[in-house]
């Protein structure tokens, strides 16, 4: 079992890497690996027509496909009333990308973002704007497409000007625009975009168009209201689970108790077939399904079906458990490969005045997005397939669906509705999406079928954030300053598993070590070893990926070094950032935001409290976090979290502030409460009663300061998360003297100091 569907070996002649696409200079090594790997996956998964288009993005020969992000009518429709419909390359799942796209395009088009409706575009070469591929993830959307989408808006505006010039019989240079209209100042004539759109969008885009001077931005950089707030406050927003088509049957499934099991005999088939509304019963790979007229009837029937499950091949072994896995990671003795090496760690440790050692671990996690997975498949009389499916990579799922259906990719119309949360859930992982089931059931029934997974089935088949384990050794000099740091990171990450073979055989999995390598601190001797140890479950990307635990490990251990060296953790970090003005300024900013650094313990609002601090550098964004905690009834109470975030430059400060709030909530939820416990080869918790997520009464106040340093644009959706677990852990240590090295906190009963 490999997890995410592995692409076949690249076919000869298909593009490798990113032909003809210039990479922004700001990409980290990790970013390049991520892009390149993704491009290869997509390159082999795409139909040849698209793949060729991808490979000819710089082509200027007549008849060649235009570069992604340049064919204006593929993105924009302007109605007679001037309303703009934007087909976005990205799927909206709460992160506000639809609004951000409207701001960016609207800025250059000269149209108010409030006039936009934004939908996720269908699969197609026009939309491969994330450096030649397309995905919604990795906090890449805005930063990867910002220039492209600005140019798209500017191209559209130029086409409107050209159309207006032809209509008014005036020179194009005599025309200008105001939001939604072309203006001829000399005559006072104005024409709305809606009147011009038909003629304008038929024109060929100009080769080069001027972009607005950022000093004149009216929408970019402003707290423009989200376009979807009202439809999401009134129940009108439609998600995959809400989709319906004529003649549709509904399917509920029962998966094998353990991954790898296959359905054998049914003990009560006739009785189940006779239940109300039941249409038919089906065996599927690793599951059984009942089709009925209503989902609840299907669910009742499939739950009643008495299935003899047989052991299949692959899957999880009956004796697999989280406890066994953690013991195996701890016992792993392999040397691994160096992910970072600076100076001479061994000598520095040997010569250190004091050596500190510690082991840290973090559990498997579920995405636990509130919308359970669903898929609606409809075969059409012309042999094509319509598929509605939550997904973060339309072209990849289109190709995978085509394979299941026995069609060519272009015969599959993939619809990507709003996501009811995602956090990495909707990439293509093995056994983790209902689309194959929907396709097979629609074929078997000869009718459209919508599959909905119950929450219990979802917890049973969600792909999990990997378990993490790190062993640290740190050396201090006589003054208590860190002079050496050695980290052994043991396990497996999603980049390595899914793209490892495509990374040119690199022994270092960037998703295993991110957050431990490339830290900004001036510790002269460093070594980070990436030690592979396979993890049997289907592993996944989960909001902030390796950073979701590695920054907890590293920043907690750094506090241990501070304490061992008799230093204040904030002051020590400032000292270690002496050569890093950007990070140092951000640390000072979060200190200021919190009213001035104080570690505590101290008294506040009648409780004894302390604060912890942490830094993180995720997704090309810099983040500094401070948390204030107390202890009540043995549990951590987080009162306030202060976050200073520097993504370089921004599009929407209001959405950024909310994304930080959201990331704080998820980071806190994971560190306080969450743990997927495998026992006997299966996850134990199957609903929120046994997999609690952060409730409202444990949400802290969150204070956000956005710093625009002018550095190349970084990500937003994920970076607020990684600093939260270590800031809380460091505060808990300051308050109680107790160092929590194993997440979640709920496993440790804490007493006040």
């Amino acid at each position: 079992m490999n997890g995410m569907t592995r692409p076949p070996a690249p076919a000869p002649g298909l593009p490798r890497g990113l032909p003809g696409v210039a990479r922004p200079a700001n990409l980290s090594r990790r970013g390049v690996l991520g892009f390149a790997a993704g491009a290869l996956v997509l390159g082999v998964a795409l139909p040849p027509r698209l793949a060729r288009a991808q490979g000819t993005t710089q082509a200027t020969t007549p008849g060649a496909a235009p570069p992604p992000g340049t064919r204006v009518p593929a993105f924009l429709e302007i109605g007679p009333d001037g309303a703009v419909r934007l087909l976005s390359p990205f799927v909206e799942g709460g992160q506000g990308i639809g609004t951000a796209m409207a701001q960016i395009v609207g800025e250059e088009l000269d149209a108010d973002p409030a006039r936009f409706t934004v939908e996720c575009a269908p699969p197609g070469a026009d939309y491969l704007v994330v450096n030649g591929i397309r995905m919604t993830g990795g906090s890449f959307s805005t930063r990867s497409s910002y220039e492209t989408m600005r140019r798209l808006g500017a191209s559209a505006r130029e086409m409107l000007l050209r159309a207006a010039a032809a209509r008014l019989l005036v020179g194009q240079a005599t025309l200008t625009t105001e939001p939604g209209q072309v203006v001829h100042a000399a005559s006072g004539r104005r024409i709305g975009y809606g009147e011009l759109a038909g003629a304008a969008l038929a024109l060929a885009p100009a080769a080069a168009v001027p972009l607005r001077d950022p000093k004149t931005f009216r929408y970019i950089g402003k707290p423009v209201a989200r376009l979807d707030a009202r439809e999401k406050s009134t129940g009108h927003a439609r998600y995959s689970i809400d989709m319906a088509v004529d003649g549709m049957l509904q399917a509920a499934v029962q998966h094998a108790p353990r991954l790898g099991g296959e359905p054998g005999a049914f003990a009560n088939e006739a009785a189940v077939r006779a239940m109300p509304g039941v249409h038919s019963i089906h065996r599927l790979p690793g599951a059984v399904a009942v089709l009925a007229d209503r989902w609840w009837r299907a669910r009742q029937a499939v739950a009643a079906l008495d299935v003899a499950w047989t052991a299949g091949r692959g899957g999880l072994e009956a004796d697999f458990s989280s406890a066994v896995m953690l013991a195996a990671l701890r016992a792993e003795t392999g040397a691994g490969a160096p992910a970072e090496r600076e100076g001479d760690v061994d000598s520095a440790l040997a010569g250190a005045a004091r050596v500190v050692e510690a082991e840290y671990d973090a559990p498997y996690l579920s995405h636990a997005q509130l919308e359970p997975p669903s898929a609606l498949a409809r075969f059409n009389p012309d042999g094509t397939l319509d598929l509605w499916l939550p997904n973060q990579m339309p072209e990849l799922f289109q190709a995978a669906a085509a394979q299941v259906a026995g069609l060519r990719p272009e015969q599959v119309r993939l619809h990507s509705p709003l996501l009811g949360g995602f956090f990495g859930r909707h990439f293509l992982y093995d056994f983790a999406s209902p689309f194959q089931q929907a396709i097979r059931l629609a074929q078997a029934a000869g009718q459209p079928v919508k599959v909905i997974w119950s929450r219990e089935e979802e917890f049973g088949r969600d792909a999990v954030r990997p378990m993490g384990f790190v062993r640290f050794r740190g050396g201090l000099d006589a003054r208590g300053m860190p002079v050496a740091l050695h980290a052994r990171v043991v396990g497996e990450g999603p980049i390595g598993r899914y793209f490892g073979a495509l990374q040119g055989g690199s022994p270092v999995d960037p998703s295993m070590v991110e957050g431990i390598v490339e830290k900004p601190y001036a510790i002269p001797n460093r070594r980070v070893d990436c030690v592979p140890h396979r993890q049997p479950p289907v592993i996944a990307f989960w909001r902030s990926v390796g950073h979701s635990m590695n920054d907890f490990f590293y920043e907690s251990f750094l506090d241990e070094l501070a304490v061992a060296g008799g230093q204040d953790p904030f002051t020590l970090r400032l000292a270690l950032l002496r050569d890093r003005p950007r990070q140092r300024a951000l640390l000072e900013a979060v200190g200021e935001l919190s009213g001035g650094w104080k570690r505590g313990p101290f008294e506040a609002e009648g409780t004894r409290r302390a604060r912890g601090v942490a830094m993180a550098t995720p997704f090309n964004t810099e983040v500094a976090t401070i948390a204030e905690v107390s202890i009540a009834a043995g549990e951590v109470v987080v009162h306030d979290v202060w976050v200073a975030i520097d993504p370089g430059s921004i599009v929407n400060p209001a959405i950024i502030e909310r994304q930080v709030q959201s990331a704080v909530a998820l980071g806190l939820s994971a560190s306080l409460l969450e743990e997927v416990v495998f026992e006997e080869g299966a996850p134990r918790a199957r609903n929120f009663d046994n997999y609690p997520i952060l409730p409202r009464d444990r949400m802290p106040r969150v204070h956000v300061r956005i710093v625009e340093s002018g550095a190349p644009m970084g990500g937003i959706g994920e970076p607020g998360l990684p600093g939260v677990p270590p800031a809380v852990a460091n505060a808990v240590a300051a308050l109680t003297g107790r160092r929590v090295r194993s997440l979640p906190f709920a496993k440790t009963r804490l007493g006040a100091a």
Binding site: G93, G94, Q95, G96, A225, R226, D228, A229, R230, E231, K232, S233, T234, G235, H236, A237, Y239, I241, D242, A244, Q250, P276, R294, W295, W296, R297, A368, Q369, L370, E371, P372, L418, L419, G420, G421, F422, F423, I452, S454, R455, E456, A654, R658, Q661, S662, A663, V664, A665, L666, N687, F688, D689, I693, L694, P695, R696, D697, M699, R701, V702
Partner: protein
């Protein structure tokens, strides 16, 4: 045949006893604003009003609300408290993914109908629905704003 009054309209429905109100609303009547999240009354995405009380429809047998007035998110703006709540939700830009927000809006509406000037304890007791996007602070701000707008 079961007779239910939903958003002021009476429906005669062919559903088995024990069928959760949620699935009658979503599936039989096609009102998809009310969401399925967990099925065990943990998350509150399915919250509707039954005679004005916030009720988790996923564990409420449909037959148990025969004769009652059921209100779903689709009708929330038909009365002033609901309109204020929705307006506050939009003004405070509460939703992110939005999946839980129908239930949150219904829970807030029920609270403010019963307690027009809720204290923090009232809000804490009433607003227990889960939000995986962590919009909790915005939710509390919006509830306070809707209350003070009365």
């Amino acid at each position: 045949m079961l007779e239910l009054t939903i958003n002021g309209a009476t429906h005669r429905l062919d559903v088995e006893d024990g069928t959760p109100l949620l699935w009658v609303i979503r599936d039989t009547l096609g009102l998809t604003g009310t969401k399925y999240g967990c099925g065990i009354a943990q998350c509150g995405a399915c919250t509707v009003l039954v005679d004005g009380q916030a009720t988790r429809a996923c564990i409420t047998p449909a037959e148990s609300v025969a004769g009652a007035q059921v209100t779903t998110i689709e009708a929330v703006e038909q009365e002033p408290v609901g309109r204020r709540v929705v307006a506050a939700w939009v003004a405070h830009q509460v939703p992110q993914c939005g999946y839980c927000q129908s239930g949150q809006v219904m829970a807030a509406t029920a609270l403010l109908r019963q307690t027009p000037r809720p204290g923090e304890d009232d809000i804490a007791a009433a607003m227990t629905n889960l939000c995986r996007c962590g919009t909790y602070n915005a939710i509390a701000d919006a509830v306070r704003a809707a209350a003070s707008a009365a």
